[in-house]
Symmetry: C2
Subunit: 174 residues, 2 copies
């Protein structure tokens, strides 16, 4: 089953993390592959999700090289492309293993930045069994992903405290 979390609002990666919690809670295994996020740390890097029943695990693989072309990025574009392609190859390999849920975090952005192609992703998605969940996150999901997906939610920004200095800072942290 293919799920897309897209839109310009907060909650896409966050919802997929929440889904990871639920799935591990049911004793199943979850793999999260981050396509864009780089070597710095956010909250999810510092936790272990421990199922009380003793079964189920969560693994996070950060395969992105950070923001592309902005915020002081000095990496050659080919490095970003190679990283995204490697993430995709890794996904293909792991799809044959015992994961109930695989999260392709920010893959929509990797497409938008033309680091990988829609077609290369669709080709791999053909092999996803019905009872394996794959979540694709990132704003501006390509229409082909939406067409292919079984469940799509748009996280739509209604309000964000960008214009309030103090609150904007707190919101960034959040």
């Amino acid at each position: 089953m293919i799920i897309v979390f897209t839109g310009n609002g907060k909650g896409k990666t966050t919802a997929s993390l929440g889904q990871a919690v639920r799935t591990v809670g049911r004793g199943e295994n979850v793999l999260m592959i981050q396509f864009i996020k780089g070597p710095w740390k956010s909250g999810e890097d510092f936790i272990d999700i421990i199922p009380r029943g003793g079964k189920g695990k969560f693994e996070l693989h950060k395969m992105g090289k950070g923001f592309v072309g902005i915020l002081g990025d000095k990496l050659p574009r080919e490095d970003h492309e190679r990283a995204a392609e490697e993430a995709l190859t890794y996904f293909k390999k792991e799809l044959t293993k015992d994961w109930k849920l695989i999260i392709l975090d920010e893959i929509n952005n990797a497409i938008k930045l033309e680091l990988i192609t829609v077609e290369s992703v669709l080709e791999i998605l053909k092999d996803v069994p019905d009872d394996t969940f794959v979540i694709l996150t990132g704003r501006d999901a390509p229409q082909a992903f939406i067409d292919r997906a079984d469940l799509v939610t748009e996280m739509k920004e209604i309000k964000h405290p960008f214009n309030d200095g103090k609150l904007a800072e707190i919101a960034m942290e959040f």
Copy 2:
């Protein structure tokens, strides 16, 4: 800071769970109060979120009595009202303690079902410090919550496999 996750799509409670993961990961404490969900179990009941740094905890308090007026609910309405009021009183008490994030799960639904009033919630929200996060979830958030909130995301359903028997079942489980 007040956050609202609303809309008819999947991802509201899930995103707040994901935010719990991130916050615990940063060594802070998270309390989730469920206003509607009942005594049955879902994935989040079976996990512990363990911060590698040794600080930060996640607590889940299920204070709802299950679905109201549907799915074989036989409880007197007053029992549901009392449960929702108790959840609100509990929130008010815990607001003075060391929680970085408090999730009021399905509180929008409790309002819609008229178990508690918008005004009683707004009154307590006055006491939320800027650097404490309170997330209100549930579809059909009252406009007064949206007006009061600093950050609002609408989780909008674009696609859901309701009409495919097998996939609908898998989606329920998800």
